[in-house]
Symmetry: C2
Subunit: 455 residues, 2 copies
């Protein structure tokens, strides 16, 4: 490792130059006018992988934007790691809010400013250069590596899920390494071991067959908008507890160790209250804000509609109302099981005099990797060596659906070892990536692959 | 009265011809292109009143469409009755649904089909011709009569309210006679003695200062749409009872006599369920459908909005939601008092973590005339004489705001003695007015004015 560490230190300037070159490619996957740029980026990556010593480097057609694949599988008896990342980027709008052009990477302070720097080209390169360091210094990686880069993570065409399912053998692995997330706080390295899932529903509540005058009918019949509010109010109680019978049955309880780890990050409430301009934070009784967001299911109405919404007053009893809501799920809740529970419950609580119709629009499985997992432990040790402090083990409240796909299809846990910072402005103007995290990220990954080889 | 009755019987043909002539005038008050027709109608009425023997017949400028006024005040010591009606009519859209042209009155079966026939020109003429019969047969009416016809009841410019307030002396009276409503059922004459009032509100529930991702924030903070549903659900309970403290304090209780009278009309539920396509009727426990609509306050959400309402799924926690609702009020509830109670209650029940903003958009007082009132009793007796059966004393669930104005400004009760039928299609294509009810209505009114003179 000594030689590897030395090599990585000596190549710092080149790593920056090569990242800058990659960031100049306008690989905006949601913009059909940039289709050629997306493909060019894939081709540049294939060449890069081939030149570095990777084998089988190739473009993979997915039906949507192409994916890129390469491997090095000569560490006999050692684990196989799938490196996953995406080379496509978000659109740049609003362009006038950028202080430097999004595709002319600019170094200011200790960061490079460009679209895709933190999300995800810069982070993806930390793996590429870590592995390259092994290949250029002896030609051997301590473990087997497959690298798989998709080109439509931001475009959301969903063809990557299908590609994974149709290429189980090609992508078969023991663990997936993903650097596409940010640290909880600057200066506090973190590794994420759990993500929430999702069950997203649309409900319609139907009343009379035509709009009615509330003077002539008010009091005679159930109003579908009154009824809709009653349904929503019965899903979650005043203490933030979801009242759907059986809903919490499969929830994995937070351990005391996890609670302690989360608490070590401090109380995020004062800053959030100020930032959002709200009177207070709120949620399920008995849990802290981070616990509620990371390790407990939540219930949110995303949209609601019905009746007269124009200016002034119209005394109508309308025919129907609707709302969209989701519950974020935690390990080991199953969106398919939740769908049945929600459907049954809403039928039960639907007030007299109206009918309801429930449809699940979207489901995503939660994922959780046991923190005593060998790969997680190796990543933690590698972070500590490179950054000089033990990373905090965190969860996230959101979903990264591809991790559920990897778990389901490849039976492989994902290690979410991001190097982004909370203020990297991903998906916003002035996206940036910290160059310290870049360099130390390459080093951390090198330590990690070295550790993987010791299994 | 014998001579009057005979005269009315002999003039049946003329009454129809004169109604037909009036119905040809296209006095659509909401159509600015018909402004001239509205005024022409007022002028025709002034001439008609003058020719019949009324005094002081004149156009009254209101700021909007003109009103028409006339009087005959020579019944010394006798009560003064204000006859109120409107000569303007609803628009005719959708015109293609009319089987005969709306302004070419057509007699089919025992009805005249034309816009304004039942609402309100035909009904208004029942008073005009009843009084004319007295003036043409001896030149004396048994009581004092003021007739006041507005030209913008359907247009809703609201200048009539102001006109009444500014002309208290001109319109001063002991009671107001209004024929602008329909019977509860065909063949069942009815007189209405109570109308509901209204308190109409708009509420906004405010959460975070910007749209948030429900993965990143779900469980951390109160969602304004969740909170909004909880507020609505707390206004009315599962048994249809409004939970605002003090809300029912001033409600006049239904008497056993009223309950019996309403029950005599039969159960409207089976037909309503079929007509509206609903599973069942519903409302405040312990009351029948008619009791709930006529004599109990009701609570209806008229419109609700917030967040993402497009196709598919978006996992947003939005910044705010809103809803409009009203409570229909019954005697002796006061919309101003209700406004205070609603405002206080919503502040109290507003869930933690969001703020709410309540605004009353509109209020209307309920009205109720004691059924042992001399004028009501006279009208009941007159109906019985003309139609051969005692009219049912009913209430209505809707509001007629001008009746509250008459009560407040003139201290005069309104007697709502309509001659319309439930299937008259007012405000719809193929409006009609039954010619039996027209002729017997003129006669009933003559009996009524005769009875008024006996006070």
């Amino acid at each position: 490792m000594e030689q590897i560490v030395k090599y990585i230190r000596e190549n710092e300037r080149r790593y920056i130059d090569e990242m800058v070159a990659l960031l100049k490619i306008e690989s905006v996957s949601s913009d059909s006018g940039k289709k050629g740029e997306v493909r060019r980026c894939a081709e540049v990556l294939v060449k890069k992988l081939r030149d570095s010593g990777f084998e089988n480097a190739k473009i993979c057609e997915t039906g949507g934007h192409p994916a890129v694949y390469a491997d090095w599988l000569h560490a006999k008896g050692k684990p196989t790691i799938l490196v996953y990342g995406h080379y496509d980027v978000q659109p740049v709008d609003p362009i006038d809010k950028w202080t430097t052009p999004p595709f002319q990477p600019t170094i200011k302070g200790n960061s490079v400013y460009a679209r895709g720097s933190s999300d995800d080209k810069g982070q993806l390169l930390t793996h590429f250069f870590a592995i390259e360091a092994f290949l250029k210094n002896g030609g051997k990686i301590p473990c087997n590596v497959k690298i798989f880069m998709e080109g439509e993570e931001e475009g959301g065409t969903g063809s990557t899920d299908k590609f994974v399912e149709n290429n189980k053998d090609l992508l078969a692995c023991d663990a997936v390494a993903i650097s596409d997330t940010a640290w909880h706080e600057e200066k506090v390295p973190s590794i994420c071991y759990a993500l929430r899932g999702l069950a997203y529903f649309e409900v319609r509540v139907k009343g009379p067959g035509r709009d009615l005058h509330s003077g002539v009918y008010g009091g005679k019949i159930q109003n579908p908008l009154n009824a809709m509010a009653k349904i929503i109010a019965k899903i979650q109680d005043e203490e933030g507890v979801i009242k759907i019978p059986g809903f919490y049955d499969d929830v994995v309880k937070l351990t005391e160790a996890e609670k302690k780890e989360f608490a070590s990050l401090g109380n995020p409430d004062p800053e959030m209250i100020k930032d959002l301009g709200i009177p207070k934070t709120w949620g399920e009784k008995g849990f802290t804000t981070l616990e509620r967001n990371w390790a407990r299911p939540s219930f949110d109405v995303h949209g609601i509609w019905g009746g007269f919404t124009g200016e002034g007053s119209k005394t109508v009893i309308t025919t129907e109302g609707g709302f969209k809501f989701s519950t974020r799920l935690v390990a080991n809740q199953d969106p398919k099981k939740i769908e049945k529970l929600v459907d049954k419950y809403i039928k039960e609580i639907c007030p007299p005099g109206v009918t309801s119709d429930v449809r699940m629009l979207h489901g995503a499985y939660p994922v959780m990797v046991p923190i005593d997992n060998f790969f997680i432990k190796s990543a933690v040790a590698a972070f500590e060596k490179s950054f000089g402090k033990r990373p905090v083990l965190v969860r996230e409240g959101a979903s990264i659906p591809i991790t559920a796909t990897f778990l389901k299809v490849l039976k492989a846990p994902s290690i979410l070892m991001g190097f982004g910072l909370p203020d990297d402005n991903i998906h916003s103007p002035n996206e940036k990536f910290n160059l310290d995290n870049y360099q130390k990220g390459i080093l951390a990954n090198a330590y990690m692959y070295d550790a993987f080889g010791k299994k």
